[in-house]
Symmetry: C2
Subunit: 256 residues, 2 copies
């Protein structure tokens, strides 16, 4: 039995997003897992990170987010709704983020869930040690993460030479930069494309495929992102000259 | 004389973000330009796209964002604050987005400015014609866009083989997917790195460099993203086999 947290962002109960959340919960619970939810719209989650996040501001003269994030985390003065989300993640063995792709990224309400919940000392600056533990080690290590995303546009637009760019590259700031950074094992994306013109039969098939995938949530092999402290980044900043010497850019950070 | 809209996301008046906004305004106004602002925190901009954006919902039984966005835009029933932002963009010859990089993307308040303001019929589905006019042609064509971003982490982390990935690739969903998509000419990023440990002298030098760049805002050559209707995408979805045949991924969409 494992604990799974599903965080999702869609206000419409009949949306495909919500249908996929329900399907995931049913499938995982039928396996004996325990499922918790963060229904960001229903919670009226406030995505705007700002002064209200720091009721006990260290420097009232000038708001520095990093400094105040660390201070609030260390001094246990974070807003209760932020602490509650952190506790839900800590209690989870797996995190599922379910959202529709808006402008090639998350809806703002989910971006602001990360902005506010990913505190200094926990999700970055782990143990107050700056960048010592990022990318593969951190406050969320030992957990796996699955992005389950729907796109209005067709799969061809996200093909290796598709006009939008491949979804894996577009979401790298999330998978690598936000989930792997604090230590999560990130699974390959689960995408349902073309929801702008999808038939009932296609929805059924897509659900079946998602269900099959969820049955193996804890057996899947995560994306092989290179860990900062695994030897590929001797100076903790750049790849060693001997590692994939022919590559530059985001894809150089995936071991092959 | 040109019109420039500066949209920015930081609540702290003493922040580097706000200093750069002030510098840009002074510099551009001294050249005879007219500068307008969207101070998202001061405006208490609501970044959560939802039912309140559609007071005259086409289908009250099920909220479909794309359908309702198009309906609200066509029927002139968008919320007044959304319409006001669209009018500010339309009135502008150049748009500057100034923000601190949070989790390798925009702060949620700015993501939700795009989510809500980029309406169907205007920023996508231009002229109600689906994907006919995207990437290089659309409701915001004839305008240039500059991303001016600050990062807490050092430049080395964003180098071609830096552990975060290059900033140009991380922000591709914004530059290509959100600004070039509705037709803007996107200038190369302006980034100030390492603001987590920056000296007063370095701030001065960074401001001088930004000022120099702003003096040539309307002379700079935009990023050479390939236009959907420029011949490189005969089927409007994927690159022709003859175009950069050795490339896949997001960088294939930049002409060299």
């Amino acid at each position: 039995m494992s604990n799974i947290l599903i965080v999702f962002a869609h206000p419409e109960p009949k949306s495909l997003t919500r249908q996929l959340v329900d399907l995931a919960a049913e499938t995982l619970e039928a396996q004996g897992h325990k499922v918790a939810f963060s229904d960001l719209y229903a919670m009226k989650w406030n995505p705007v990170y700002g002064p209200d996040d720091f009721p006990n501001q260290l420097d009232p003269e000038r708001l520095n987010f990093v400094a105040e994030s660390g201070h609030a985390y260390r001094s246990h003065t974070q807003p209760p709704e932020v602490l509650a989300e952190q506790e839900k993640i800590i209690a989870a063995d797996a995190l599922i983020l379910q959202f529709p792709l808006w402008w090639f990224s998350m809806p703002a309400i989910m971006k602001g869930w990360i902005d506010r919940v990913w505190a200094y000392g926990l999700a970055y600056g782990y143990k107050g040690a700056g960048n010592r533990y990022r990318y593969g080690e951190g406050g969320f290590s030992g957990r796996r993460a699955l992005i389950s995303v729907t796109t209005g546009g067709p799969a061809i637009d996200y093909a290796p030479r598709g006009i939008n760019g491949p979804l894996e590259e577009l979401l790298f700031p999330l998978t690598h930069g936000s989930l792997f950074f604090p230590g999560m094992d990130v699974l390959p994306l689960h995408a349902i494309y073309g929801t702008g013109h999808i038939t009932a039969e296609e929805v059924s098939a897509a659900k079946e495929a998602y269900r099959d995938r969820l049955l193996h949530l804890f057996e899947e092999t995560p994306i092989s992102y290179r860990a900062q402290n695994g030897g590929d980044y001797p100076n903790r900043h750049t790849l060693a000259d001997t590692v994939a010497p022919e590559l530059t850019g985001i894809n150089a950070h995936i071991a092959v």
